[in-house]
Symmetry: C2
Subunit: 334 residues, 2 copies
């Protein structure tokens, strides 16, 4: 049984083509129905403003599976600690024995999340996409761009963040990737010329509206991963020509689809999207077809039918990504 610390894991696993392929293969297996993926175990530690999630999945026939524990303790920054943390345990799928514990402190989660964003753009965005609007200025907002560079010839990033200061700091970092970066004061402005929009915020209210979408854009929304977060106005999803998520069940509870699942039959009070009530059924189902990224990949579905098509992909983060990246990491480390 091997133990690995973050430093070693960071050296072994980077955002590269091989890691992308590992995660793509996992999504394809999910799409083929070859994955056992139980619901997320989630526990709140209210008195500390904390929560802990456990995710796992097994790719049938796979040599190993991972179990990931992700604590999020949101008062930690007040005492100089990061909010997010975590580790992955890798087990033999033959014997159940622990092969390794990866004390990655959430690093592998950040990587596999960025890679999933790249896969969404690989399969949904226009091939000639060059310009990316990024909403958010955190670590994931940067990693998403780095992963996108694996699949599209990105040359320009337009960033918006709630804090101008964070956006400026982000711009400096991303210029280091050899990209032209512009900081914008509004979401609308940032998105105006986007081929791809990536939302990577911890927002609890929609930040992107249908009016912000240029023709032909692809949107990857990866911020919402819990029942109280969301980034997309309902109209963004209704306007899209194709809506894709990583897993429908998770999108309905933790992702953007919960906007529909929660909505009552009559118009919801306090909704930001005035005219959006047409088309919402009393059954809580969204008024559009829901695709899943795994099947898009496995079946090579072409959901973009023209250069003007608008596509949206909502990522909540799946156990099979964790199993894929942990197995990949262990193969590189050992």
């Amino acid at each position: 049984m091997q133990l690995y610390q973050r430093d070693a894991i960071e050296s072994a696993v980077t955002i590269d083509a091989a890691a992308l392929e590992a995660v793509e293969g996992a999504f394809a297996a999910l799409g083929r129905g070859d994955v056992v993926q139980p619901p997320i175990l989630s526990m709140a530690i209210e008195e500390s403003n904390g929560e802990v999630d456990v995710k796992t999945a097994h790719i049938r026939g796979g040599e190993r599976f991972a179990i990931k524990v992700s604590p999020g303790f949101f008062d930690n920054p007040k005492i100089g600690l990061p909010s997010l943390n975590g580790l992955m345990m890798v087990f033999s799928a033959k014997t159940g024995l622990v092969d390794a514990v990866l004390f990655d402190e959430g690093y592998l989660t950040a990587v596999r999340t960025a890679l999933a964003g790249a896969l969404a753009s690989k399969h949904l965005s226009r091939e000639e996409s060059r310009r990316v609007a990024v909403l958010g200025a955190g670590e994931q907002a940067e990693l998403q761009v780095r992963a996108l560079q694996l699949v599209r010839d990105i040359d320009t990033v337009d960033v918006w963040a709630r804090s101008r200061e964070s956006a400026e700091a982000y711009a400096e970092r991303v210029r280091g990737l050899g990209l032209s970066v512009n900081v914008h004061a509004t979401v609308r402005e940032a998105c105006e010329q986007a081929d791809i929009i990536v939302t990577a915020t911890p927002s609890r209210e929609p930040i992107l509206t249908a009016q912000d979408l240029p023709d032909g854009v692809h949107v990857t929304a990866m911020g919402s991963d819990s029942p109280d977060k969301r980034e997309l106005d309902e109209e963004v999803m209704i306007r899209a020509d194709a809506f894709v998520c990583d897993t429908r069940a998770q999108s309905e509870t933790n992702g953007e689809l919960k906007a529909f699942a929660r909505r009552p039959a009559s118009a919801a009070p306090g909704s930001g999207s005035g005219g959006g009530s047409a088309g919402f059924g009393a059954d809580g189902k969204p008024p559009f077809k829901v695709y899943e990224l795994g099947r898009v990949i496995a079946e090579n579905q072409r959901l973009r039918v023209s250069a003007a098509s608008i596509t949206v992909c909502d990522l909540t983060g799946t156990g099979v990504q964790d199993t894929a990246i942990a197995s990949f990491a262990l193969a590189r480390l050992s």
Copy 2:
């Protein structure tokens, strides 16, 4: 962050009064409603005849919580490995940081399970209980007796097991605890003079019937911990003057209450207990009141009303026991 291997953990934690008190305190907290305990995460690895369970719980205000991973790979003995395994991670409930990983290989689970059995007998069996019938001859069948010695002056063990050879080997081991041990050919014979009956088998069919119960006996059933296992005929529970379980939700899915939850309104075909259909409602509820051990302890409920009362406790194993024993272990180790 500390790592501890099984040897060190075995030296630090034994079946003793202090460990019993730790687990009793955890059950009391559960009974008072002071525990967050999400449903078990469970995943099957069918091609290896394996499964993995993840349990956790947080006692509000507690300094630490544990997450336990328990793989069970039932073909392992064919290649000389134990079926059961596992580890516990201990986290700070203030920051979510990992305090320790206990590579106990299931040892702490075995201990906390035995202690829960002792607590059931402490609160439900006659104080003057001396004689224990044990069904099963595995590790837990032995630990249950050792834990019972903490709460009752046990002098005699009557053992039955499917394999006579295992029962004889068990008898030898348990004689080493200073007890008189008799091996029996039938369950009925083993239980005839029992003050306490402990069932500790991996049975998938009932092994204990109402006809096996002497007056005044207390039964602890701890074998059934998954949807396909059971040890008690329905009539055992119906006959009991009080039925207690560790948590009702788990007993209904993994424990003995599933005998009722599953049963259709009409008599179930293939049931072993001919006359047992009277009293089963179409609502899948058992025809008796269900108590929970945590509340029995927290409220000091006296469910035994006379020396002839029959009591039954069904234990499926709870996350709060894991948090309790892991915190206890870490306090002793560090």
